[in-house]
């Protein structure tokens, strides 16, 4: 830690993935999520696979844990489907992964694509029975004349095997594309949100779900906004928020009504008239919303900024951080190449003091809420030296470009960091850069 100010100095820890000129579309990472104690890190990709990394469990008491993440399990979560009725393809891309809190030696996670949520159980097996009477070790049957004695099979240790099995499949509840899932603090229910509806499920029941939000108008011509993200409150099991494409966040309380179409609170910032443009509404669309760990605050990510909201104040955010303001003048070309519709995620640090979000050119941004300092770092294989603090990157907008700066026009808009995750208690971050996963640690 730098002189006790609490400022972060990030070092490269690991990178997962291959260097390829042509990235296979199926390898593009589409979500990243730590579990509740940070021992496991799950990633989902466009090919419908989930890869789980586990932190190294070397015990070095007193020393700073090296704590590298290695592959623990991988499985195919979703397969491509075809909807015969509408002649549509359903992508197998994993949109979200959410872990359940651990209640027994197994790990559970929910993964979802556009239409179906699945509950997966991940278990370890490190011993197997040996010494059967009727079969040889290889599986062939023993001839009955060879069997002269009876023995009881015993469990012998074996190489660790991690098994993933689907335990529940929650399907057929969404007409539109599921964009979020969120597990309730009661660990028994969860919600899934698509563009117009939010459903509440019980983890044990797969053939029914409650619809708790429905913003579909009777006349579709009147449709003005869609739901973009939704999350349960971390401790209050009756509250949740959902964000919209118009830049509003609605807090709902399930105790008030069965159908929470009427919000309890709406968080909306009045628009700044000076910045109004043709693209104002598009860039105000919220792509991600996250509660702080203490449940008091929210962060929302729209195209150009991250805003911190206090749940007690709905008139305006308490803090606004500009992610890449230099893109405001480029909105037209970003609209042309569809980048303006990119959905970036945001993350809190474990102590709710820092916020992180991604940008283009494999840059990601960190904001310290206390010191109000911000940092731009790059996820690149060029900075892989150990214990080297990542250099801050600067983008030059004006005519004069300083030595280390990169000009806006040189930014690579294909290298976007949409998915990031922060370890729940330590300062370790996982950053997904297309098909590579970077892990950075705070230097201590």
């Amino acid at each position: 830690m730098a002189a006790g100010t609490g400022e972060m100095q990030w070092c490269f820890s690991q990178v997962k993935g291959t260097i390829e000129e042509d990235v296979t579309e199926a390898d593009i990472i589409s979500c990243v999520e730590f579990n509740h104690d940070g021992e496991l890190l799950a990633t989902g990709d466009k090919g419908g696979r989930v890869v789980i990394f586990q932190r190294d469990q070397q015990s070095s008491p007193g020393l700073q844990r090296r704590g590298e993440y290695n592959v623990y399990s991988t499985f195919q979560s979703h397969e491509p489907e075809f909807d015969y009725l509408k002649s549509l393809e359903i992508e197998e891309k994993i949109n979200k992964i959410r872990w359940l809190e651990r209640a027994n030696p197994a790990h559970f996670l929910l993964s979802t694509n556009d239409k179906t949520v699945k509950l997966w159980k991940v278990t370890e097996r490190d011993r197997r029975p040996q010494g059967y009477n009727l079969k040889e070790e290889g599986g062939t049957t023993r001839t009955s004349t060879d069997i002269t004695t009876l023995k009881v099979p015993v469990f012998k240790p074996m190489e660790l095997m991690v098994e993933a099995s689907p335990r529940r499949i929650f399907a057929n509840a969404h007409t539109y594309h599921i964009n979020s899932i969120s597990v309730n603090s009661d660990q028994e229910t969860y919600m899934s949100a698509d563009d117009l509806r939010i459903n509440l499920w019980h983890l044990e029941i797969t053939d029914q779900s409650f619809n708790i939000v429905d913003i579909k108008p009777t006349n579709m011509e009147e449709l003005t906004e869609v739901i973009t993200a939704a999350e349960f409150h971390p401790t209050e099991c009756n509250q949740f928020v959902y964000s919209s494409s118009k830049g509003t966040i609605r807090l709902c309380d399930m105790r008030s009504q069965a159908l929470c179409d009427q919000h309890s609170k709406i968080f909306e910032e009045p628009e700044d008239p000076t910045n109004r443009s043709f693209f104002s509404e598009i860039i105000s669309s919220i792509s991600d919303v996250k509660f702080s760990h203490n449940g008091r605050y929210l962060i929302t990510r729209d195209y150009l900024s991250v805003k911190v909201w206090d749940l007690h104040m709905d008139s305006k955010p308490i803090e606004t951080y500009q992610v890449h303001e230099y893109l405001r003048s480029k909105l037209c070309s970003l609209y042309e190449n569809d980048c303006i519709f990119d959905k970036f995620e945001c993350a809190w640090s474990g102590n709710d003091r820092n916020i992180m979000t991604g940008s283009y050119n494999n840059f990601f941004r960190m904001f310290d809420r206390e010191t109000k300092r911000d940092n731009t770092l790059e996820a690149s294989r060029e900075n892989m030296k150990p214990s080297t603090i990542l250099k801050q990157r600067k983008i030059s907008t004006g005519g004069k470009r300083k030595k280390d700066e990169i000009s806006v026009d040189c930014l690579d808009f294909n290298k976007k960091i949409l998915h990031t995750a922060w370890h729940p208690s330590e300062n370790i971050i996982a950053v997904a850069a297309t098909n590579n996963l970077y892990l950075f640690q705070n230097k201590e």
């Binding site: 890869v51 499985f75 197997r128 993933a164 980048c339």
Partner: protein, 343 residues
């Protein structure tokens, strides 16, 4: 009919442009103000040149699919209309919902008609007579028609999920397929699937009705879902081999006394999986990797431009009537055997 936004010239393609388009049943026609009612066949093959996991469509085409194929090979396409995109979900949904069902049906019919015209006109493009005869695939009267519904009936949902556990060995870095080691040799009476035992062609299923349709999917855990038309990169194969995220470079490797740079640690090894990081040697008894059958289906299916919707998964007769190469008896799948005896 020119319906598409420019693709090839775009220097900064968004993720959306070349990639798989999401469910969008709205025909692009509605977005174009000056829609012409006549269809001129677009000069491009019906089979998707897109090498992603786009399903290979038969004459039943979809406006979405068309859009995707066009965007993949748009070099010949003359783009005159302004770029029309619907990346915003709001607009997409509005389109889908407000389109009159009748209009949508009519438009869909037109699509089908035009694509059939294209498919038929493509036959006339061959340069030599010999190519002509080979290009025409015999119609499938002699082949059995297979209609696959949900291949995984265990769960009542339509979402295909592999039956049973997917096992992975962290030290070897490869998914493990052989279950005889790890499951009890006497299967539980409540289990529906059967352990691979003898290669008897006699049907093992008690339910004769379900036999033809289900095709022992429970035994073949890596059979890809039947709904797949395309034979692009199969998900089973992708998983069976080394997942790209298993390639790892750590900063700790720089700190070791290895001066030659990064020690790239692969959780899996490419040749044999005996070597691993922990250095424990594997006894032969535990080396039961299930080597996947070299799938002929990839190369087979790509030959044909018009694959039947009901194409069976593994074995398929090609035009000359020769069977594709049979896998070795050890790794043969159950239903492969069954097919042989049927014919």
């Amino acid at each position: 009919m020119e319906v598409d936004p420019p693709q090839a010239s775009d220097p900064l393609p968004g993720a959306r442009n070349g990639g798989l388009k999401r469910c969008n049943s709205a025909p692009m026609i509605n977005l174009i103000p000056d829609t012409s009612s006549s269809f001129t066949p677009v000069s491009q093959p019906l089979s998707s040149s897109h090498n992603a996991t786009a399903p290979l469509i038969s004459p039943v085409s979809r406006p979405l699919e068309r859009q995707r194929t066009l965007s993949a090979s748009s070099t010949s396409l003359n783009i005159t209309t302004p770029p029309i995109r619907i990346p915003s979900r709001l607009i997409q949904i509005k389109q889908e919902e407000t389109t009159n069902v009748v209009n949508r049906e009519v438009a869909h019919e037109r699509e089908v008609q035009s694509s059939m015209q294209i498919a038929q006109s493509w036959d006339e493009f061959s340069l030599e007579d010999s190519m002509m005869t080979e290009a025409k695939r015999p119609r499938s009267f002699s082949e059995q028609l297979h209609i696959f519904t949900s291949p995984f009936p265990l769960s009542s949902s339509p979402s295909p999920t592999r039956v049973g556990k997917q096992c992975f060995s962290p030290s070897a870095g490869l998914p493990i397929k052989d279950h005889t080691l790890h499951t009890s040799p006497t299967p539980s009476p409540t289990r529906r699937s059967f352990v691979r035992r003898s290669l008897s062609p006699i049907a093992m299923r008690p339910n004769a009705v379900g036999m033809k349709r289900k095709l022992d999917t429970e035994l073949c855990e890596y059979i890809s879902p039947a709904k797949r038309f395309n034979n692009g990169p199969f998900t089973p194969e992708r998983l069976l081999t080394h997942h790209p995220l298993m390639n790892s470079i750590s900063s700790s490797s720089f700190e070791d006394s290895d001066p030659n740079g990064a020690r790239e640690s692969n959780n899996s090894s490419t040749s044999s999986f005996v070597s691993n990081d922990s250095g424990t040697s594997m006894t032969p008894q535990t080396c039961f990797t299930f080597c996947p059958v070299q799938n002929n289906r990839n190369s087979e299916s790509q030959n044909s431009e018009m694959t039947d919707v009901s194409e069976p998964e593994q074995t398929r007769q090609d035009d000359s009537g020769n069977r594709p190469q049979k896998p070795t008896p050890k790794t043969i799948f159950k239903f492969g055997q069954a097919r042989e005896t049927q014919v």
